[in-house]
Chain length 213, copies 2
C-alpha cells in the first residue's frame, strides 16, 4: 500500500520544518495537518501521537543526513591531514550548509541543544559514529597525546563547524547577510582545516619533544 507511506511522508515533510523551528510543544497538530493538506486525525492514525511523529521526524532527518553525506571511508595510506580536511568538509556539509530540505540539519541541531527522549538514539546512531571517525583521524595525527587532550582537540574542531549552524542567526546579524553568503563550505572547510592543523602540528611537535610514552 503506497498511499499510506505517501501520507506518512507528507506529514513528516510538513511537520519537520515546524518542529525544527519551534520544537515539539510549540508546534500544533492543526498547523501540521493544514500544511500537509490532511485531516486533523491523520497524525493519530498514522503515528500514534504527536510525540511519536516528532521522534520519527528526528529519525528520518538523521537517516537522510547520513545517507546524503556519508562518513568518508578512506583507502589505506591516505595521509591523515587529508582525512581531516575530508572530515571537516563532510561535517560542514552535514550541518552548516543548507541542503534542501533544510529542516533535517535544523531539527538535529535542536536535538543537540535541547534533547528530548529521541536524543539517546540520535547520539548512538548519528553523533557517536561521527565522533569516532574524527577520533580515529586524531589518533593518527596525535598518537602520543593523552586521550583527554585528544578529546579537547576533537571538540575544538566540531565546535568550530557547528558554530555556523548553531549561531547562524546571530552571525548573520553580526556580519550582515551579505557577507554571510560568502561563507560557503569550501571557504569554511579550508579555514577550519588550516586553523586546526596548525594547532595540531604544534601539539604534535611538543608531545614528540617530550617523547612518546
Amino acid at each position: 500500500m503506497t498511499t499510506a507511506d505517501e501520507t506518512r511522508q507528507r506529514l513528516l515533510d510538513a511537520a519537520g520544518p515546524l518542529f525544527a523551528e519551534q520544537g515539539l510543544k510549540a508546534t500544533t497538530v492543526r498547523v501540521i495537518c493544514d500544511r500537509a493538506d490532511m485531516n486533523l486525525a491523520a497524525i493519530n492514525y498514522h503515528f500514534r501521537d504527536k510525540k511519536q511523529l516528532y521522534h520519527e521526524a528526528v529519525r528520518h532527518a538523521a537517516h537522510c543526513c547520513d545517507a546524503r553525506v556519508p562518513i568518508p571511508d578512506w583507502p589505506a595510506g591516505t595521509p591523515p591531514e587529508r582525512k581531516l580536511r575530508d572530515f571537516v568538509a563532510m561535517f560542514l556539509n552535514r550541518v552548516a550548509v543548507d541542503h534542501e530540505p533544510a529542516w533535517h540539519a535544523q531539527l538535529l541541531m535542536r536535538e543537540l541543544t535541547h534533547p528530548t527522549p529521541a536524543c539517546a538514539e540520535f547520539v548512538r546512531d548519528f553523533v557517536r559514529p561521527c565522533f569516532e571517525a574524527l577520533s580515529g583521524v586524531l589518533r593518527e595525527l596525535l598518537p602520543d597525546v593523552p586521550e583527554l587532550k585528544r578529546r579537547l582537540v576533537a571538540f575544538s574542531i566540531v565546535g568550530q563547524c557547528l558554530h555556523y549552524r548553531v549561531a547562524r542567526p546571530v552571525i548573520e546579524h553580526l556580519v550582515g547577510a551579505g557577507e554571510f553568503r560568502n561563507y560557503g563550505v569550501d571557504l569554511l572547510a579550508g579555514h577550519i582545516t588550516e586553523f586546526s592543523l596548525a594547532a595540531i602540528d604544534r601539539l604534535a611537535a611538543r608531545s614528540h619533544r617530550k617523547g612518546p610514552s
Copy 2:
C-alpha cells in the same frame, strides 16, 4: 515601593529556568506562578503579558552576565597573547561554566540559537560588544590579515568556547558525566588559547611572508 519589585524578581526567578529549558511557548504561566508562589494574575499585572516577561528575563540575564563577568579592560602595553587568554577565560566564564543561577547563560544561549524578538537588543547590548573586544585583540595579533579572514578566526575561537555550552548534553552523553566534570574553566581556557594561538601564529607568519599590504 519595594514589595512590587520583589514580586517582579520572584516571578523572573521562577520563570527564568523554565524559559531557559523549554522556551517561551512551552512554558505556562500557571507553572511559573506556582513556582513563584503567586497568584495566576500576577504576570499580567506586573508585566504586561507572558511575552513581556520573557523579554525582561532575557534582559535581566544579559545584565547579570555582563555585571558578573565583565569584558576585561587591559592596561596599555598588555601583550595581545595575554589578552586572548583573558578573553577566552572571560567568555568561558560567561557561557560555559555554570554559575548560580544557571539559567542566565542557558536563556541567552536559547536566544542565540532560536532568536525571538528579544534577540536584536540582546545582540546589540551583549553579543556585539563581546565580539568587538575579540576583534580588537585579533587586529593586534593579525594586523596584516584581511578582515574576512580575521572574522573567521574570531568565529573559530568563540565556536570552540560556545560548544561546551551549546552541545553540553551531548558532550556529557559522549564522554560520560565523570570526565565532563574535569572540564573546568582553567583546563578549557588553557586548551582553547593554546590551540588558537598556534593557528594564529602560523597565519601571522604566512601573512608576514607575503608581506603587509
